[in-house]
């Protein structure tokens, strides 16, 4: 039969994550300590994914990227006042620690929790 008028006039919205954009985002970067020839020293973990941030920062960033107001000010400085001032860039804003178990060359073993070794969030700033 016939479609209801509301159905015909509204475009079908596609969820954002289905669009591949080059906006600031977090990416995986997995390394294996075996590949790095470090596995005789680092007993655990076997793999390490520090992640990284990459992407463009839109002009009116606002809070969508967790950016402080200063980011917009810096954008304005770049556009209107002095283009030698760099534009805000996409950088990590939050991290997780990484626990590592190592075998030292004096035959002792060390467990240590290292601060800020895994990026978990990105921001334009």
């Amino acid at each position: 039969g016939t479609l209801k008028s509301s159905e015909t006039s509204m475009p079908k919205l596609v969820p954002m994550y289905e669009f591949t954009t080059d906006d600031c985002d977090l990416y995986d970067f997995r390394v294996s300590f075996k590949e790095l020839k470090l596995d005789h020293w680092i007993i655990e973990p076997k793999k390490y994914n520090p992640r990284y941030c990459k992407g463009s920062c839109p002009r009116n960033v606002g809070f969508m990227y967790g950016s402080p107001m200063h980011t917009m000010v810096q954008n304005l400085i770049y556009e209107k006042l002095d283009s030698s001032v760099p534009r805000p860039t996409c950088v990590p804003s939050e991290y997780n620690p990484l626990s590592v178990l190592t075998f030292e060359n004096d035959k002792s073993y060390a467990y240590k929790e290292y601060e800020e070794m895994i990026a978990t969030k990105c921001a334009c700033r």
Binding site: K37, L38, H40, S99, S108, Y109, Y111, E113, Y114, E115
Partner: protein
């Protein structure tokens, strides 16, 4: 380029000093040997690797169990110096020397235990009553293994249950001043005498024979709080230090048993 880690600049081509992970990571990325060119590669002892892997799994769980809200972000397992063990084996006291070179000034001691490994043929956990006698030896500069007697420490009868092959004997109160003095080596005379606990066994028989401890000398396990920038700073939720050892071997729900039970 050089990186300034904790007030010391580390050149990529300088051999790694204290297990700092980032410098060798950079070296590995620039295809250099993280331990320096001429260091021979000793193989880790699989028993200690198993033990430390358990500690790693327990400690690095994203959400530690509430009762395990301890502050340590570093644990070091230091094996005794071989060269001293050979010299004094005929004494009933074990002369043991540990190198504390790796313990950094910003690593504050929270707890230290002597880690004994048992070889026994018991199938189920059993209890021991032990008496620990420990003396510190003063080392003279020119001798690494010396026999001057220094501070004495005797721990009265200990009672602990033996799980798997390891027993941790808490010696924090004795070692704390030595380690906080940032000594590079500590020399101890240690004697641990144990008899099996007199708990009657199912079926009524009581087992009296003393348990033979392995001739292996104990390793030293230090739980430390590293306050340097590199180390992850844990926020104490309860503000007090709980018994660090209990959550490894409390036997109630250790990771080890849970996984084996589930697998079974």
């Amino acid at each position: 380029s050089s990186y300034n880690f904790e007030n010391e600049s580390v050149e990529p081509d300088v051999p790694l000093q204290h297990g700092n992970i980032l410098s060798p990571l950079l070296k590995a990325l620039s295809e250099q040997n993280p331990w320096g060119e001429f260091t021979h590669r000793t193989k880790p002892d699989s028993r200690y690797v198993r033990y430390m892997r358990r500690l790693y799994k327990q400690s690095s769980k994203p959400y530690r169990s509430p009762e395990a809200s301890h502050l340590y972000n570093t644990a070091r397992l230091i094996t005794p110096r071989e060269e001293c063990l050979k010299q004094n084996r005929e004494f009933f006291m074990q002369d043991i020397s540990y190198s504390l070179n790796r313990v950094r000034s910003q690593e504050h001691l929270l707890k230290s235990v002597l880690l004994y490994s048992f070889d026994h043929n018991h199938l189920s956990p059993f209890s021991l009553l032990c008496y620990l006698d420990m003396k510190e030896q003063k080392s003279s500069k020119d001798q690494m293994c010396s026999n001057h007697l220094g501070i004495q420490h005797s721990v009265p009868l200990l009672s602990f249950r033996v799980h798997h092959r390891w027993v941790e004997v808490d010696v924090t109160s004795f070692l704390h001043p030595l380690i906080q003095a940032h000594k590079k080596d500590i020399h101890l005379l240690i004697n641990l005498t144990c008899v099996e606990d007199m708990i009657s066994r199912p079926g009524g028989q009581i087992h009296k024979s003393p348990v033979e401890l392995t001739p292996r000398s104990p390793s030293l396990l230090l739980y430390l709080n590293d306050t340097s920038e590199v180390a992850y700073q844990r926020r104490s939720t309860q503000g007090r230090m709980v018994d660090l050892t209990s959550n490894h071997w409390d036997g109630k729900s250790t990771l080890w048993e849970l996984t084996s039970r589930r697998r079974r």
